[in-house]
Point group: C2
Amino acid sequence: MSLSSQYNVITSPLGDGLHKDGKRLTPQRLKVLNLFENIGYGKHLSAEEVHEKLVKSSSKVSLATIYRTLRLLVQMGLLHELELSEGGHRYELLSNDTPDHHHLICIRCGRTEEFENEEVLEAGKVAAKINGFKLIESSLNVRAICPNCI
Amino acid sequence: MSLSSQYNVITSPLGDGLHKDGKRLTPQRLKVLNLFENIGYGKHLSAEEVHEKLVKSSSKVSLATIYRTLRLLVQMGLLHELELSEGGHRYELLSNDTPDHHHLICIRCGRTEEFENEEVLEAGKVAAKINGFKLIESSLNVRAICPNCI
DNA sequence: TATTCTCAATAATAACTCTAGATGAGAGTA
DNA sequence: TACTCTCATCTAGAGTTATTATTGAGAATA
């Protein structure tokens, strides 16, 4: 039996999106997406810049793969493509759902509800600042039992 | 190649604890632990009570397995054993770290810092109430980059 | 009564195999 | 310059097998 039938294995949005399509989660794809997550929202890079940055961080990924991966991540809705008037394209991280999204998860049936909360976002910011971290995103997971399962 | 070598598969504390010891994550073990999580902290049950409750919820687990599992969960530090003067033992969920614990996680090196925050706990409570869920616990995960990795 | 032991049957999961999807290097295209 | 294509090589992950931990039922123990 493969692990995918386990009760409690949680996978990434990238992995999930790829797998349900017969596609594969590769180190290269992860590196490209991580790069965008690291630089944060609102910043855009060209394919060449992505390539340079990965090479500098001793993560060699070929330019052809960069192009293929950028196209894929745009198709998956994880990146946004900007067309420049000077020619060429740039890519930026697309927040895939409500910013500052939190989840209420039923531990019995897995039902999930999203909600927003400003104080939670603020708490994340403060914690990051105190510890000298650069914030990327925060998500509150509330483990609970839904009405149907009580 | 087995999934365990993947980059981004997150497993449960129970699964992790068992696997690193060559032990297995079984439905029975999960059911027993879930039962304690569902009734919440501070409440204790005897082996017989655990058995009854599981049988009632149409989750048949043999009494022998209940005893074996309770001993295991105590060894793993997930449950606490109380010795009663009238004879027999009772078990209760052990909060394995700071209650209302939140995590600041470096997405590059994996370094993790814990912190507490009252507003976050409150936000979880409110969200659970609005949606009719019974709260179990909430944890805020802040994805960020630590000083060493910036 | 509360708990443990025995042992045949069951099943979690590590290990291995295999195949199609993905990559790298470099040539091709516009 | 900006990107795509080709193709040999590589590898992610599905599928399968095999091993051995775990379970259930009931007897045994204290």
